[in-house]
Symmetry: C2
Subunit: 271 residues, 2 copies
Amino acid sequence: MAQPFDFGYVDEPFRTLASEYPGADIYPPDQFRVEWGPIFHRGRLDGSARVLVVGQDPAQHETVVRRILVGEAGRRLQGLLAKLGITRSYVFVNAFLYSVYGSVKARTRKDARLVEYRNRWLDALIGNGRVEAVLALGSAADEAWQLWKDTPNGQAFSAAYAPVIHPTYPESASKGDRAKLAEGTRKLLKNWNGALQQLQTAIAHPDAATPLALYGDTWAEGDRPPVPALDFPAGLPAWMHEQDGWARRVGKDDLEKRRSILIRVPKGVVQ
Amino acid sequence: MAQPFDFGYVDEPFRTLASEYPGADIYPPDQFRVEWGPIFHRGRLDGSARVLVVGQDPAQHETVVRRILVGEAGRRLQGLLAKLGITRSYVFVNAFLYSVYGSVKARTRKDARLVEYRNRWLDALIGNGRVEAVLALGSAADEAWQLWKDTPNGQAFSAAYAPVIHPTYPESASKGDRAKLAEGTRKLLKNWNGALQQLQTAIAHPDAATPLALYGDTWAEGDRPPVPALDFPAGLPAWMHEQDGWARRVGKDDLEKRRSILIRVPKGVVQ
């Protein structure tokens, strides 16, 4: 069996970016789970990306896989990109290297060192001139993008840009209320339909020409495809990219929960 | 802060070996934890290794880090190599790609397809002619080495070879009995002292010339050094290579335990 995988941070400038990164002095541990280490990206680093996505911060699945947007949010994003005909020519970075703990202070978000490091990633990913569209997931991502747009490289960049509602906004906004969840999902998908209509014409080189099929009022079959094996480090089992919900924070109190991630192989994989 | 890391399986033949590997048809799930995916190696793949170590099989820390010999066994091995002046010019592969579950049947161990794949790794790691000494940890590793030695490439290879007792033999053999643990440790370290004396003269190019200091009857300060960050994938937190015991299998029954790994950040890392 042949299983493609992501080579990671081999070529410059990514090699340096993955070995010299902001630590707890720039990402304060009262606002970020720095103890789990930075998680840098997902997708193509070889200059073949046509769509750049700026996300927010990594969560527990990302911490295990060491790639961003591999959980539920990532699968929803994968579906959005598929509707644009983009099945592999994408690259994702987050606004934050570490998982947010509680909330992020404005002073931290705007720390020049935090912004400068992230801008080096954006410079590197945009630099070769192939990116045709940029998506930002949520407000932190939008702010990150605007801070890069203020730089000389950002000002020189003119591809399409769509800030959209974060993929797991419905869950965050509804806190278990089913009616609110349905309403939030409807709002999200309407917002994403707008982005689809805006970006479709901007993407001149999709991986597969795809007639535009807008979202309905709720998730449909096929809207949350698996993450491709190609985006994962070598040797990870198929259930890690085909399924979701296999990693969770556990513990009897906040500190214990912060310290612990339980990985559980999904039902049916082990007989 | 600059943190070196391991680039992994970028160059051939490792690129192919890490994407086309034996699965459940060759490693039966009643004998191996195939559900966690294969774990391939630790150390130098760039031809700079002077010492090759054959280990047995990966456990739970290895499953999270996706490199072999990163738990207690790995730290003990790291100490053994340091006594030989080898602090980075090493490479490790295991007899088995997957974690052993229960015990391995002879028919499985000798499956020509399992052996052939492992021999391709050994061919690749030995091929450049720089390896000056080989260590095998435990009997499965020794058998693996002998099966390679039977091949034409193996027959042509003549560097020093020391089969030694597996680093965590004292724990496996004593099952919680303190007197047996002390006795097992004494036996292990005496065995390792023999290997040190044998291999020291064989290693013509250590990383640092080191006067031979044999082990005592039990572990001493410095005998279990941390695993270097250089051996880990990018971005993993320092406690994963500096400490041990942060991953364990949990669950109320065998199936649940097989399905679950709990990662817990060591005390003191999160305040």
